[in-house]
Amino acid sequence: MLSGKELLISIIKPALSTLDNNQIQQIAFDNAELNTFLNNFNHPEDIINLTESALNNLVNNLEPLEARNYFLGNIKFIKGLAELAKQNQTKLNLNKNQLLNLEELKELIKLTISRNEYNIQNAKEKSENQISDYRKILGIVQKEELFTENDYNIIEKIVRSETPNDVDNNLDKIYSFVNEFNARKLSEIYTGIKEKQYIKPNITINLTPIKLIEEPEEVIVTERIIEDYNKEEAIEEIEVTPLNFEDTDPFQDIFSSINLRKKKPSTKLVDAEHTQKLKEILSYLGYNYDILEDELKLKLTSEDLTKMEEFAKYLKEENKVILSKIKTNNIYSSIFILTKSSKQRIELILSTLYNYFGIKSAGGELFKIVNNATTIFSEQGCQNFVENAKIFKQYNVLINNIIDKNINFLHIDNEELLFNIDLLINYGADISILIDKCNLSLYTHNSFNSFSSLIKKNLDVLKQYCFDLKLFFEEKNSCYTILNSVDLASKIDQFIEVGLNEFIHSNSKNSGNILKTLIIKRIYYAYKNKMPVWENINIEYKRLKDCNFGDEDSRLTFQEFNQLKKYIKDEDSIINESEINMIKSDYSIMELIDEGNRPAIYSNSPLTLIKRKLELIFDTQIISRPKAFRVFKLLMADGFNEKQALLYALVYNSILEENEFIFIKNLVERMGVEKKDDELFRAV
């Protein structure tokens, strides 16, 4: 029997001399013959036209190996019956199984023809590359160089191409040789000790120090490692560190170079075998392992390959629907399903889709789910989806809209969804419409949000800004999209500051739609006039950069100012009336501002109350009161001095004329100069 090395050479050498047009011509001839037969194969009797050699070649394409003889026997038997019928001039009667066999034969012929056509098409283009690959591998074998990952692929191609009838056996032998060769070579590199090929494997460590000094190359340490290696005990290994015979005293410390039973994650040999197995599994599913990035390759090293292989068979042969929906280039989704899903999860998801929403494999929905919501097939994803499906069904949610617009909403955290639905039900909201229009806010994708969800935050914002939530959810549902705004409070602040507070709340049954219309109009206006929509950071910085109230250290660069704005924006806190009162009691400067600058309208009408709650008046300019307190609180927490924090809070995001800014700045500057009572009196 040939060794792996001899086998590889015996495959490559003849192939190098026969890779010419003869092969292509032979394939073309075979194809012509098969085409002619197929075109004339209209009745079962026509089977007699199939030649013996063509039949044998066809059957060689059958997998698995065991099925070949059985299928060949059946076809030959049918052919015999057909010949007998022809001789006796009788009708050929076949049973169902035999007719099925003929249909299978037709399929096999079609498959073989298309494979041959592909080979013919590519043979000429590839021949040069192939020859170069063949020579490369032969060179590596002869020069005893290290085989790289890419070489494994080339070897596989060569073996498949040259010995199609015995691919598995030949690959086994050759890979065993390559793996052992590589392991030996790597060990040599790793230990720095070169072993001699002819030394018997039982020789272990030569402990005679004199010999070590004289002939260090003779010490066969690595051979022993490979000999002793046991797959079952891969964790317990021997680590060998290079011996430096010149610097150390070998008598004294010879064992220090050998560290027995030290835990080591893996060896090159194990890695190579593992990688090879992974390649085979992915190749079986039609993917190339080599294109994966290193990080993913590393993750895959910890996978249970036996389990993965079984699951790959299930995907390829038992339940083909998932694999058939994955885009051909979507290797990452395939790997995710292969490693993180299971037969039970797939079946559960498919049955849930069908039973709850009537989604079958034929429509485009499953295609989108498999490719764009692959993570649904994980344990957590599947669990969430099954629970969420009940909610979607209960509230008649339009599942196709979710699939089209926010497909991963299908498997968002079920507890979070339930919490938000409970919250919304309290206000009489239509859950189906809300899921359709506000799915963005029903799930928080940012981890820094202090709120359980954006919708919870925005409901609190609307409450703080005096919207009646029950009336809001009775409005035309187009306004619900404002609940998806990340920074809704700032937008309302801006409308308050341009004097639209009263307008927004003029009709409480339509406040939501008025707000949405204002947002859209503002965007159009800014777009038409080529202006920023919600803020002008350059002007704001230009005005504020010198306002440090004598504290030179607090002067901010533009970058720092930008970071400060981001900090305020990201710190998505909102503030309620009791917190405002606490701030006022802690900082008299805020009490003065609040008492001195709220609208002095003595009426108890709802609009008056809203204005007093939401506005501060500075000459002709309105400043949002919740904004001023919210930003002041954040800036104080960030270490600002009171006056600076107050000024920054008042003008934060405000679009002010120069004189309006100066008015506010002067007011803040003067604060604390006079006594508190005088200040109050002057303000009133």
Binding site: N371, T375, D413, T481, V486, K516, I520, Y527
Partner: protein
Amino acid sequence: MMNYLEQFDITEEDISLLKQNLKPDVILNFEVMRNNVIEVLTYLKELGVANLLNVITFRPDLCFRTVHTLEQELIKIDKELLLYIFNNTIDDLTNFNI
């Protein structure tokens, strides 16, 4: 495994920030469904969207739509206005039913 985003002028530092800011399951989506993310971001880049980092941060859902579906949605709005919203106030895309 989100380094593929670098082809869209998103720096290593940005990616590291994204990993801090986005929830783990959203990051996993970006890792696993990268083929679609690449298709969508390529389409948006060709359309003229300048700040793709904002798209990922504020509208990750867009990255998991098919390009075809997204295109059908976006063509309903004037292109210049659409780009203005994308580049200036992406948060408000939702108010234009996107």
